[in-house]
């Protein structure tokens, strides 16, 4: 008997696939279990093939997994497409009144469960409620209690659609009972655990909570998958926290508005994906030149151009490292999971304001929309730090004064006793445009000096696992959880491996890396892109080229099992 399940539901867009996945994840979380959600869907509002995968077990789940144990097929395509992902003893829940299994080669060991999903759904309401029936059936098959589901359905529909509550509960219950009365042999069971103070959340929301907690006041954003839920989160909560949220005419407006907002003194945020970030690039340089503290979230999806708009990739690191003409300091963060995304939200504005520079936060579809069970966020240690922000202007105030650390004291427009110009042209300490060589050198040095101090303040990449292991994985951003699960699984194959994960990418920290490279015999770079972009940065910063690379650019993140296989094949 296995005490986990990797559950998958598939069907057309518009069938409520994504929402039932979230509901199941919350259900597991409320039962003291851990869940990890990942979805795949085409760029369509209706139609096309949608799936949600949810790994659930009693210990923390850090990534998606490849082998499916329970498949809910709302159409025939789901079985055809995902048959090869099933474990030999997997169960398939389907409705023979909707489609037959003719022409599909099914292993004898599979458990076929034929439920009249449509009939039950229509008996209580509409066909669209098949997802709820299937969820009821799933939890029954896993031998979990029904109770928590009732509460969740109530919460999901309360207020707006109260009439849907009883019919959905009834439909779920009938799906639940259908299985319960049949004594089906299934090798995967979940047992409710002691209640924990856990939440089920994705990185977009986690980052947003962190940003709000840190005193965010102004958001300007143009919607773009997979960053759009940051805009809707902020809009939904704007009156709770007195934040002004502006949907702009384009991404150019978005970044320039937050530059204006940050100049005027509010913690200001924008979020986008690679395409929108391309439009923001000139504004990014303006923030660099005027030393305006802004935070830009770039949730990556595969390019170039529109690329695979609803899929995932880590393809924009090289781009954001040098985006915009000229040279100016910037901080690039790439949180690896929802806890780190929350921390990034919390601290990014401190960094932006202390060093008066743009902060770029790299997420991707996999974490932006990948809900995970995690412990309740803790911000007790957090303190707002606004750096050299003065409430009164000193005598002979100079906005761009030369200082040891490159950071000049800042006053906000409206401050009595002085005035100044923020200037996108090269300028003097006062902010006056100036093209003299001597001033140019001083100003460039002053701005770039901030990087040296920032580099000292940010943490080294984190090393996970045995520090003396002979095999080392190196990755950044959202690949973290997958690599961590791979390390665990490698133990079963008697391979000791550790992981060096870059959460803060630039300015680049090399100390831990260099130490590690001396010890490890086998080093594998794992990146969700084509050209090993972190690898290129490592080579640029240290002169070291990492030979072994495991790269995936299919529009999907890795599975731990793929990494395990790759590590085992290393000579």
């Amino acid at each position: 008997m296995n005490d986990f399940v990797n559950w998958k539901i598939g069907g057309e867009a518009g069938y409520g696939i994504l929402s039932v996945g979230i509901l199941f994840g919350k259900f597991c979380t409320r039962n003291g279990l851990y869940a990890f959600y990942s979805s795949e869907f085409p760029s369509l509002v209706r139609g096309g093939h949608n799936t949600v995968q949810l790994m659930a077990k009693k210990n923390p789940v850090l990534s998606q997994h490849s082998e499916i144990n329970l498949l809910i097929a709302l159409n025939k395509e789901t079985i055809e497409k995902h048959l090869h992902e099933l474990s030999p003893d997997a169960a398939i829940i389907y409705d023979s009144k909707e489609f037959d299994l003719k022409g599909i080669k099914l292993k004898k060991s599979l458990v076929l469960i034929d439920i009249p999903l449509t009939e039950i759904a229509e008996k209580h309401g509409k066909k669209i409620m098949r997802n709820t029936v299937a969820l009821g059936a799933s939890i029954s098959l896993l031998e979990l209690e029904f109770n928590e589901l009732e509460g969740l359905i109530k919460e999901a529909f309360s207020g707006k659609k109260d009439a849907l509550i009883p019919i959905n509960i009834a439909a779920a219950k009938e799906g639940f009972n259908f299985i319960k009365n049949r004594n089906i042999k299934f090798n995967y069971k979940l047992k409710a655990q002691k209640k924990k103070n856990n939440i089920f959340i994705n990185a977009n929301d986690a980052f947003s909570f962190g940003a709000v907690k840190s005193g965010l006041k102004f958001v300007a954003e143009y919607p773009m998958t997979p960053s759009s839920s940051i805009l809707s989160f902020m809009a939904a909560n704007e009156l709770n926290y007195d934040i002004v949220v502006k949907q702009t005419e384009d991404e150019i407006a978005a970044i320039n508005m937050i530059i204006g907002g940050a100049f005027a003194g509010a913690r200001s945020l924008t979020a986008t994906s690679g395409g929108g970030f391309s439009l923001m690039v000139e504004g990014l340089g303006l923030a660099g030149m005027t030393e305006t503290p802004i935070v830009v979230v770039e949730s990556q999806r595969p390019g170039p151009s529109t690329g695979l708009p609803t899929m995932t990739e880590q393809g924009d690191l090289s781009f954001v490292l040098t985006a915009s003409q000229g040279e100016f300091p910037r901080l690039i963060m790439a949180p690896g999971d929802v806890q780190e995304a929350f921390e990034t939200g919390l601290y990014s504005f401190n960094y932006a304001e202390k060093y008066q520079l743009p902060v770029i936060v790299l997420l991707d579809k996999y974490v932006s929309e990948g809900n995970t069970t995690t412990k309740m966020f803790d911000s007790n240690k957090f303190k707002i730090e606004r750096g050299k922000l003065l409430s009164k202007a000193p005598k002979n105030y100079l906005r761009y004064a030369f200082t040891k650390d490159g950071v000049s004291p800042r006053v906000l427009p409206g401050t009595l006793g002085t005035v100044y110009k923020a200037n996108g042209d090269e300028h003097t300490e006062k902010g006056v445009s100036d093209e003299e060589e001597a001033n140019r050198i001083e100003m460039m040095n002053k701005r770039m000096r901030k990087l040296e101090y920032l580099k000292k303040e940010i943490p080294e990449p984190k090393l996970y696992g045995d520090k003396n292991a002979k095999t080392t994985l190196i990755c950044w951003g959202s690949t973290k959880g997958i690599a961590l699960e791979a390390i665990e699984e490698l133990k079963k194959h008697k391979i000791k491996a550790n992981l060096l994960h870059y959460n803060f990418i630039f300015p680049f920290k090399e100390k831990t890396l260099l130490k590690l490279l001396k010890k490890s015999k086998k080093v594998l770079l794992v990146e969700n892109n084509k050209t090993a972009q972190l690898g290129k940065l490592i080579a640029e910063e240290t002169g070291i080229k990492i030979k072994n690379k495991f790269l995936k650019y299919t529009g999907r993140q890795f599975y731990p099992q793929e990494i395990v296989k790759k590590v085992r094949s290393l000579k």
């Binding site: 959340i201 002004v244 005419e249 407006a253 978005a254 320039n256 204006g260 200001s268 911000s379 006056v432």
Partner: protein, 285 residues
């Protein structure tokens, strides 16, 4: 309260515009208007983009933001949303505001933020030395249209009317007292004030000169600014007689007034410590 003197707005640095450029006169009208309204220089922010006119913030002793080409409006929007106590001005040329930045201008007008927009309109690209502009007349010979422009020019006033601007006026650099008066009215107006300003370029535009405008412009006197339709037809009057003055004015809540978040105090003055996220986080359990 001490009365502001005109000299308060003078900077140590001198403008680098060509001698005789219309921008000198617009700067002078703006300073006069600020003085007349008794505005404290520290409570004024002048935001500009790129182009000859966009150097202006450097030569007026207020807070300023010299941004990038076409983006003065979004920068100013951010400033105003974060601190609506400030008096925010946008200074933009015809290329900057009606060309590369036009998208932002249209949206700013429909939003009705309380911003005063000065569109320095010389119907030519100055800083890049004489290319055609969105307001160049059909047939205008420039370095990029040596055979004459074959495009119909943008009509900023008609565009303002169509986009929901609540204050639409046209001034002329050659009539600084009249222009200063328009700037005062536009600033005192609650909402987005679009002031298009004829600003002869003495170096590169040999057609739309001071002489050209002196002969043609006349001040609107009989016109009722509440009359939208008449304002629209007046905005197309061009040729021997060209009207200047207030074309249209109407009342509508400003963007900031419609935001409950800004009811009590500007964003920048709100406390940001001790934000409690715990109750919303409960929903994720």
């Amino acid at each position: 309260m001490t009365k502001q003197k005109l000299e308060c707005f003078h900077t140590k640095e001198n403008p680098t515009w060509c001698p005789g450029c219309g921008n000198h006169l617009i700067l002078s009208a703006l300073k006069k208007a600020l003085t007349k309204m008794d505005l404290d220089p520290t409570q004024v922010v002048v935001v500009s983009g790129i182009g000859c006119s966009s150097g202006l913030p450097h030569w007026i002793e207020t807070y300023g933001f010299h941004s990038i080409h076409g983006r003065a409006v979004p920068v100013a929007t951010g400033v105003k949303l974060v601190n609506h106590d400030l008096n925010v001005f946008v200074v933009s040329g015809d290329g900057d505001g009606y060309g590369i930045g036009l998208n932002h201008l249209i949206h700013a007008m429909r939003r009705n933020l309380d911003i005063t927009y000065l569109g320095h309109d010389n119907q030519i690209y100055g800083l890049t030395l004489g290319q055609t502009s969105p307001t160049s007349e059909r047939g205008a010979k420039t370095v990029s249209t040596p055979h004459g422009s074959i495009e119909t020019p943008i009509n900023p006033l008609a565009l303002g009317l169509a986009s929901g601007a609540t204050f639409i006026a046209r001034g002329y650099a050659g009539k600084t007292a009249h222009l200063a008066d328009l700037i005062v009215k536009g600033t005192e107006h609650k909402g987005f004030a679009l002031i298009d300003i004829f600003q002869p370029c003495v170096t590169l535009n040999k057609v739309n000169t001071f002489e050209f405008f002196n002969k043609r412009v006349y001040e609107l006197t009989e016109h009722n600014p509440a009359d939208f339709n008449n304002a629209f037809s007046k905005s197309f009057e061009w040729g021997e007689k060209i009207p200047i003055g207030l074309f249209y004015q109407t009342k509508r809540d400003t963007y900031s007034e419609d935001l409950p978040q800004l009811k009590e105090t500007p964003l920048v003055k709100q406390k940001i410590n001790n934000v409690d996220i715990s109750s919303v986080l409960e929903k994720y359990k």
